[in-house]
Amino acid sequence: MDLEIQARLERFKSTPIDGQALKELVEAGLTWLRANQQTVNALNVFPVPDGDTGTNMVLTMQSAFNEIKDLGTHNVGQMAAAVSQGALMGARGNSGVILSQLWRGFARALHNQDVLDGSALVRAFADGRDTAYKGVVRPVEGTILTVAKDVASAAELALQETENPVEIFEHVIPAADASVQRTPDLLPVLKQAGVVDSGGKGLFFVLEGMLRYMQGLPLDAPTTAVQPLSAMKLENAMEDIEPGQDFEVVVDFVPARDLDLKSFYAELENMGTSIQVGEGEGMYRMHIHVPTENRNKPVDYIMRLGTITKVAMENLVAQMDDINKKSSGRIELAGIEAGQIAVVAVSPGNGISRVFASLGVAALVEGGQTMNPSTKDILDAFENLPTDQVIILPNNKNIILAAQQAKEVTVKKVHIVPSRNIPQGLAAMMHLNPDGNLDVITTKMTKAIEDVTAIEVTTATRTVEIDGVSVEQGQVIALVNGTLAISAASVEEACLGALEKAKAADFELITLFFGDSLASAEANRIADIVRAKYPSQEIELQDGGQPHYQFIISVE
């Protein structure tokens, strides 16, 4: 075993825990929780099934850790107080607030202590529980509160056998796990959903992380324990395909004896990748990707372990080919980590969505036929992202209001970059740095909006005269930066007229997005005419797929 790890094991076994050691434990709890964050999110059904318990608890722990990471004190009482302060400041969601209360009680018990020994640890767990229970007039059992209660009891029992904090943790962790497993018996909505309580599981991971650290176990890979059936992500199999994997095999089975997960996983790892194991009512579901020559191996192996009830096998290569043939393939959105800036963009069409995705957008809201998404549509797009820094690009002046309402309703830090059309939104994306400072990036993106000229070409639905331009119903019109500029008999004329009005010759790049009402042959023809007229500009043609507008043109 690693010398450093051995030294750590010795240290925790023989010396009481001081401020710096507590800091290490907090970090370990945070790291392990983060590694298992998605498992916790997938369990979230109470009080509201919004799938963010894991993320909220990570954000809370992260805030607690940020408060102490540069703190040099060896006094455990001071360190605990700082942890509590950080957790309070950053508490997110129901579980995050309860977690902050657990830390508050924990810190109170350690108030005048230099170091943490067995009996202080037990008092701290008890005070944590008491403080947490005081924070609500109707505590709901079968939640993180119950787990905290059972942890405190287990710690008290352990103290009768040992004074050593590591050994107390060794008693507490299995008790916490058992408590989590009992939660469906206490809270009916959990039983109905077939899950354990997400907050309780989150607390379990925090404590388990601390024990793993003291035992020298790794904290990066999530456990190979099974997940609930509902948490298995099988639909996204397409995105996980590695080269060499040709078949997806999913087997439902009832094992004859208790399944030894470690050797089960080990056997499967010899056959393929993307292994997931889910547990349902008395049955298991195994999912794996295998190369063609191994396609029967999982079934043959599992046959020896019990009774197979269902097998599904799918040819991944054939599916990928199918998907690549169709023009509407999957849109790859940017993965976001906590602390990064996530951009939510509203998009009217597939092609434009794809462009936004390629620029690093984290979430897309389909504007639909009327470009009128609701506040809830916008909110849903970013509420479950694992970060609390969000920028919204409404890309239409009518959507700015809904975006503002979404901002009011959420606890996340949301800035709106007031893009009034697609070209402005795209220009803003050029200035995104997901690791940057939210205010600075917002300012940059907002400035960038003004540097682009947007032309929208569509068909007039009524006869009007606006801004000196008279339009008859059925004519093609072009708006430059939202103002009616041209009315013409054809799309080609409208485009060319608008480009002239926009002084395109003074700019460098003209991007034409053609909509779903224009055939690509016609779009190409018009693009060629534009190229001929503006030889020194770079002209790009993209299939935007947007409704209503034959062309959306960005000039920059």
Partner: protein, 118 residues
């Protein structure tokens, strides 16, 4: 309010019923240690009439349903997160029971209760 006509007749859901759902959703939200009547008069009236959902008001203007809850929060918790959890829980429970969207859920923090002098 909350009227639905089926082949068998009409279903009407009263504001009081919604208020009760909102009340229970609020009480079980973490951080809430009480509900507060908006003013003394309402408080007295509520006590006399044993009103189950004091501190909660449900308003219907013919089109939209708005719910206001007035709560007391435990000192030492993060107020915005607690209020946010209350709003989410109330909205979720009422919309689930009603089968219709609610317009606004407004959470008013009327005070803090100190149970643990830190």
């Amino acid at each position: 309010m909350g009227e639905e006509t089926t082949t068998l007749g009409t279903i009407q859901i009263s504001p009081n019923a919604l208020a009760t759902i909102a009340y229970h959703a609020t009480l079980t939200s973490y951080g809430v240690v009480g509900l507060a009547p908006k003013n003394l008069a309402e408080g007295l009236a509520a006590t006399i009439t044993h009103e189950p959902a004091r501190g909660v008001s449900v308003r219907y203007n013919g089109e939209e349903i708005d719910i206001d809850v007035h709560i007391i929060i435990e000192y030492g918790t993060r107020i915005t997160s607690v209020a946010d959890s209350v709003a989410n829980a109330v909205r979720y429970q009422v919309e689930k029971a009603l089968g219709m969207p609610i317009h606004f859920v407004n959470v008013h923090v009327q005070g803090l209760r100190v149970s643990n002098p830190d």
